[in-house]
């Protein structure tokens, strides 16, 4: 996998399911140069009816595997933890929801 080389303004890290109020709050706050990573229970969103509302999205591989999911099948890019570190370095700032 190749991460985007362009600068990310805000990296949003979202570890909540689509039913959690912070899930939609996060999506509403995303700017045009932002990126989204789904982690922990957040990865279930890729299989949910909420996935249509998602922008281009990353998801942590270990969390997908744990929950029996494969990211690529649903248009997301899976990242391992070193790649997650890269994303946080590339971003100007990080918000954990």
């Amino acid at each position: 996998m190749k991460l985007p080389m362009s600068q990310i303004h805000t990296l949003h890290i979202l570890n909540k399911t689509p039913e959690h109020p912070r899930f939609n709050e996060c999506l509403a706050m995303m700017g045009p140069d932002d990126a989204l990573v789904l982690t922990e229970n957040g990865v279930t969103a890729l299989w949910s009816t909420s996935k249509a509302a998602l922008p281009k999205v990353f998801a942590t591989k270990a969390d997908l595997q744990a929950r029996g999911l494969v990211a690529e099948a649903n248009g997301a890019t899976s990242v391992d933890y070193p790649e997650l570190v890269d994303l946080t370095v590339q971003a100007k700032r990080v918000i954990s929801w």
Binding site: N15, T17, H20, E40, N41, A62, T88, V89, R93
Partner: protein
């Protein structure tokens, strides 16, 4: 900033082990950051996150012992681990100093974790390239 830039991180953990996944995800992140040559300036435990620093945690033997796993990481990489004193006292996590001051029957802080104030967190905010938060999922 490219992927190769050296960064320093303060990691804040606010979710408790065996209740949330936060301490696990934070440890996976911390290990990866160190492996990539970045620096972890400090770990700051806040709110329910302070339970990670308990010396009395006793999970079943076939489950990962997250406080011990974190303590080993901190020692091996000389990373300071700090539990917020206000969060810790309200949640029954005390070191020997607090035990004496409040005349408690015992202490339960796991080394090398220390207890300190929010000033440590403020310092992290100012000095580290990035301060990241690992919250519980609820």
């Amino acid at each position: 900033m490219s992927e190769n830039t050296h960064n320093s991180f303060t990691l804040v953990i606010t979710g408790a082990p065996y209740t949330t996944q936060a301490p696990q995800t934070a440890l996976a992140f911390a290990r990866a950051a160190i492996a990539k040559g970045h620096t972890i300036d400090r770990i700051f435990l806040y709110g329910d996150g302070v339970h990670l620093a308990s010396s009395l945690t006793t999970p079943p033997s076939d489950e990962t012992h997250w406080p011990n796993a974190w303590a080993s990481f901190l020692s091996a990489n000389r990373v300071p681990g700090v539990a917020c004193v206000a969060s810790a006292l309200r949640r029954g996590l005390v070191d020997e100093n607090e035990q004496k001051r409040h005349e408690l029957t015992s202490s339960n802080l796991l080394a090398p974790f220390e207890i300190a104030g929010l000033g440590e967190w403020v310092e992290g905010n100012i000095k580290s390239s990035k301060t990241l938060y690992f919250h519980g999922g609820h």
